[in-house]
């Protein structure tokens, strides 16, 4: 415990969170809106990093879990159920969906696992379009309730949610579970030889990732007041989450949040470039991968260790 309070990273994080929490005093609602979305994406990226950075499994389909949570919550809400129960329901369905996907898929290695998760996204996307009568198809659907109509309140909800999720995920990654996952990601045979049940731990990581992705998906729906394939499930959303996690620094958890905020704010800043903004952002991400493969936070931490 002493080690945590003594580390500069901890105090830096506390100051950063305080500054972010006070932002509504200075900046406009437009910027707050962008940051609100960025915080939710931050949780997606952190949940993804637990699986990728630690367990070494590339999940190309984070939006499968997010979409399950979001659409379940939206459908339940339109059936007249209150927001808290919708969030529980959405999270539960995301967990079940994640289990159905992961139990067989985790037997597979490397590209096969990635492919199956990619196919899961495509199937969910098609299923939503086919059952357009209930889900609104390609146009999307609106929900009856929203978290709040006040921009500031929504912003604080998102920030608080990201901080709580960040603390839990970071704690998990530093726990025994995180260490075993890291071991099995780097050399699964040796981890098995040491007596750890690799598949069981990876499954646990996947379930945790599913719970956080699904829950955040439901939050995002009740923030935006609507859900659609293009904003929640499309593969490009999943790619953004992945880029954010790698950009911020894999195997750091918190890097995912930093990467997501950077990515979304940068995309917004580059909006005057018009169509080219995604081009530039992907280019920057590619350069980071080529020259600083540890990502922003990873690079800083490593530099700190040396110096």
């Amino acid at each position: 415990m002493k080690k945590v309070f003594g580390s500069p990273v901890f105090w830096f994080a506390v100051v950063a969170i305080l500054v972010l929490a006070l932002l509504p005093l200075w900046v406009s609602g437009y910027i707050l809106g962008i940051l609100t979305v960025a915080y939710y994406y931050g949780v997606f990226s952190m949940a993804w990093d637990l699986l990728f950075g630690f367990a070494g499994e590339v999940n190309f389909g984070p939006t499968f879990l997010i979409g399950l949570g979001a659409y379940t919550a939206a459908l339940m809400n339109n059936a007249g159920i209150g927001i808290p129960f919708c969030m529980i329901g959405g999270t539960f369905v995301a967990l079940v969906g994640g289990l159905l996907l992961a139990v067989p898929a985790l037997r597979l290695r490397g590209p096969y696992f990635g492919l199956i998760t990619l196919v899961a996204v495509l199937l969910l996307q098609n299923a939503i379009v086919i059952f357009a009568r209930f889900t609104g198809g390609e146009i999307g659907m609106t929900v009856a309730d929203v978290l709040s109509i006040d921009t500031n309140v929504n912003y604080w909800y998102a920030l608080g949610f990201m901080v709580v999720c960040g603390v839990i995920l970071f704690g998990l990654s530093r726990s025994a579970l995180g260490l075993i996952l890291q071991a099995s990601g780097q050399d699964s045979i040796e981890a098995q030889a040491l007596g750890f049940n690799v598949v069981k731990h990876k499954l646990a990581a996947f379930c945790i990732s599913a719970i956080f992705s699904g829950l955040t998906g439901t939050m995002l729906v009740f923030y935006m007041g609507a859900t659609s394939v293009d904003t929640i499930i499309d593969i490009s959303i999943g790619v953004q989450i992945i880029i954010a996690a790698v950009l911020g620094g894999r195997r750091t958890i918190l890097g995912g949040a930093i990467g997501a905020i950077f990515l979304i704010v940068a995309t917004e800043f580059l909006r005057p470039l018009g169509q080219l903004n995604t081009f530039v952002v992907s280019g920057v991400a590619l350069l980071v991968i080529l020259f600083f493969p540890d990502g922003m936070l990873g690079y800083l931490l490593r530099k700190g260790e040396r110096g």
């Binding site: 990728f52 070494g56 590339v58 067989p104 597979l108 490397g110 590209p111 096969y112 990635g114 492919l115 199956i116 990619l118 196919v119 495509l122 199937l123 098609n126 379009v129 086919i130 780097q186 050399d187 593969i235 490009s236 790619v239 992945i242 880029i243 790698v246 018009g274 169509q275 080219l276 995604t278 081009f279 992907s282 280019g283 991400a285 590619l286 991968i289 080529l290 600083f292 493969p293 540890d294």
Partner: protein, 291 residues
Amino acid sequence: MQILQILVDGFAISSLYALGALGFTLIFGVSGVLNLAHGGIMVVAALIGWYSAGELGLGTYLGTLIGILAGVITAFISYFCVVRPIQRSRAIPHEETEIFVLTGTLLLGIMIQDGMAYLFSDNPITMRPLIAGVTHIAGVRTPINEIMIAVICWAVIGLLWLLVNRTRIGKSLLAASMNPRGLTLLGFELSRIYLLVWTIYGVLAGLAGVLLASFLGVGTNNAGQLTASAFSIVVLGGLGSVSGSLIAAYVVGYLETITAYMVAPTLRPIPALILLIVVVYVRPQGLLGRR
């Protein structure tokens, strides 16, 4: 009647799928790279080919050649600017190279897609067919272009087979897929072989892109889907297995055509996706893959 229609239409699209997936499986087999910018390369070839054939008025044949050249150049860019630096980087641990190559090529694919959309807009384009006109095969109205595409695809696949199995350089390519270290010990320059593989890959993907543009039309938004279909065909057939990919291309092509004709055009990709899941669970090495 409808069955004949399905047989004829499915054959052309399957041949194109085979050509597109062949290069993808080739570079995986030889250098162990899954190139997620694959669809991007096809799109570049299609758009540049269309632009030089139509807008610059160079004609369909010259346009096709320029399109293929653009495909080769894009393949080189993905190898020299993304894949090779990642493979040689010291900062990336060896066991994570694969994941980084996947992420890096994915990013390049997005850059290609957005860059092309900026230059040419994201409206789908259709190239003028190589040969115009319509003929009848067993009573089915078929554009001659469709037959032409199937013939070109199979001619190229045949040439590739001859190159790999009958020439010295082709055999060294085959050897590189089995044991790269052994090959370098025998005094072969491995980097030259990789260069050759990426050239062949660029030609195959470029040709597939141009032909697709003259058959169904191509837009920048197709890039991701083209990558996904090549990826799934290759996994279905067995990663690195050329004949497996060819069979898988026909399975997927016909499955899609049958669904489009018999059930509904909107459900077109679904049976192939479900089949892919079943195969990966039951037989992860694919139809003809080695373990």
